[in-house]
Symmetry: C2
Subunit: 380 residues, 2 copies
């Protein structure tokens, strides 16, 4: 009778309509019905990306779209700036290095967000960098980065701003067109409430011009091919068709809610979670936390790995732990996608219960009361 | 009330158990349950690949595993032989060229299969080729290639034999270990009866040694990372977890049937289909047809594209048409995956009905009678 609750920053819970749509018999990806499905999904993704640019999709995890961005935008010998404030910023640098691109890293303490002035300084010192690779929400730490400020820096230069919005799309605001972001990549299993297996990229005009110049090797992740075929409702290679079917259901929910309301809902859930964590008496790990997830720094006497294991086994509650050096030291609670107030209540009440279970002395109910107060305030 | 029947060579119908398993709430891909799932799937794939080598998986279409094979096995400046007997042989060459690998093409008329002597001649002339890229079943034509004979040629040389078994795995025999095939790639949406989105590769010892030497750029398709993590029941990047859940159900079916019986079932369906097509009076397109699908050459007076469109719209029957120059000229009927005798009966009876519908004069029932006779013979 164990009921499960998933609070990981991807995969996130799938709406029942999407689950049932994906359980239907599969169809042929070259049928007229599939063409209509692909066109509809690509059109609705524009709303979520807050762009008039075409969105392309790939059958891969979000990392595939990240690699695609590198392989499609850059040339041999190119130099780039990479903001590394966690595991996913590091991934940008690893991919660039795999392709022989020269990386100038801008390292930020994990948990912190980049100060735009530092990027400005690097950009002044290196005006010839082809691109800056940044992260909207660094999922490994829960830190939000000020992409709007970074776009103000790059817009007037030839340098492209490429943003990993893998976990944060649909949760933290990212106004691609209004802010002037050149490239945004994301994936299906976070704010888009679909199982993992689809990745997305949106490119503006000058990014597509860079694609035309690029000479790095690519085949499966060739953005031009995906773009041309996508406009026809088609694909170069067999797509994850069932996932597209589920995605259509989830996109319908977001389009109905409207993206600014979706982001506001996530903002409310994030504020409630942060307030509750503070009321319980634990510090937040990120200095500028995202709407996507909340990272909690654990007291040294709590073994985060054991706590997470116990919560899953005894309570049916799945939180995410820390990655790399943060393993065992933080807990990450996502409030992302198919979630509302009551999911936050569950996440926080379970956290309180779990702490009580391991004998850690906290004021039971303080976190839940904080959530109630925050949501009541937002409702009025 | 239209009931649909899918006879395309991928995607293929999904068993109901797999569909329902995939409709369950999603889980975290780093959980212990996911570790057990991944380990179980990778172990059962060995049975289907007929190998003791480890199998790796990627979240991508089959083309991702093809690109991975090129990027992981080869070095800059390498020379390879590519057998091109259709669209998918051409794809091997395109991928190699995208990575700057020198391709010596061995072109075969579409519909024909390669004569091993020709490969032997090329191999003698070019003993320094790093690999031969071949196709088990060329899905665009339905032709089966004699991989066993090719492996006899390469086994005693340093040249690797890399086989695209994307459509044919589990339908046409491919004894990786017994025959001495170095690398086999495949995907989820054909004989493995799972939605598209997963790709697989199996490499033997000397192929892994080539991977260690390879200097081509790769990140997402890095076989070593997928291999190391796979052994731990893990993944470098978020996998298409729901598809793995479905795959487990489908693999259970194959393991229970046992792969040699699975291949025999496909062989019987293929023989029945071919016999029926001949009884209807149409020629087969492939000179050595595969168990995977049957390609039928249409008389000139039949517009294949219109016929396929009509069959889907009026009868709920989806066949595949020809690709490239064969568009409109052939019809491809898959007997692949979650299918048995009665699916062949449906495919053939529908074909007869469709021909009658467009006023093409054929002996109604002749094809179905042929199917009945073949299956009755095999049953006795």
């Amino acid at each position: 009778m164990k009921k499960s609750h998933l609070f990981t920053p991807g995969p996130t819970p799938i709406p029942p309509d999407a689950l049932l749509a994906m359980a239907q018999p599969i169809d042929y990806h070259r049928s007229e019905d599939a063409v209509a499905l692909i066109k509809d999904v690509l059109e609705k993704l524009k709303h979520v990306f807050q762009t008039e640019n075409d969105v392309i999709f790939l059958t891969s995890s979000g990392t595939g779209a990240m690699e695609g961005a590198v392989a499609n935008l850059l040339c041999q010998g190119d130099k780039v700036l990479v903001i590394r404030s966690g595991k996913f910023g590091e991934r940008w640098a690893e991919i660039c290095k795999a392709y022989g691109v020269e990386v100038i890293p801008i390292d930020v303490t994990w948990g912190d967000s980049i100060a735009p002035e530092i990027v400005e300084k690097h950009l002044t010192l290196n005006p010839d960098v082809q691109a800056i690779f940044a992260t909207l929400c660094e999922t490994s730490t829960g830190a939000l980065h000020d992409i709007e400020a970074l776009a103000r820096l790059t817009q007037s230069t030839p340098t492209l701003l490429v943003v990993d919005a893998v976990s944060a799309l649909g949760a933290d605001d990212l106004q691609m067109d209004n802010w002037g972001v050149d490239v945004v990549v994301s994936c299906s299993q976070k704010g888009l409430m679909t199982p993992p297996g689809l990745a997305f990229a949106a490119l503006n005009q000058r990014a597509w011009e860079a694609v035309d110049r690029s000479d790095l090797p690519k085949y499966y992740f060739d953005f031009r091919k995906a773009h041309q075929r996508g406009l026809e409702g088609s694909v170069p290679y067999t797509p994850a068709l069932t996932l597209l079917t589920g995605l259509q259901c989830s996109l319908n929910l977001i389009c109905k809610e409207e993206i600014h309301n979706t982001i506001a809902r996530h903002n409310h859930m994030a504020i409630a979670t942060r307030t509750a964590v503070k009321a319980i008496g634990f510090p937040l790990f990120a200095t500028s936390p995202a709407n996507t997830l909340t990272s909690i720094r654990l007291p040294e006497e709590i073994d985060g790995k054991a706590f997470i294991k116990m919560m899953r086994e005894k309570q049916g509650i799945t939180y995410a732990g820390g990655q790399g050096d943060l393993s065992g030291k933080i807990i990450r609670i996502a409030h992302l996608g198919w979630m509302n107030e009551y999911d936050v209540i569950v996440a926080i009440s379970a956290f309180e219960r779990g702490l009580a279970e391991i004998g850690y002395d906290i004021p039971l109910g303080a976190g839940v009361a904080a959530v109630q107060e925050v949501f009541t305030k937002f409702a009025n």
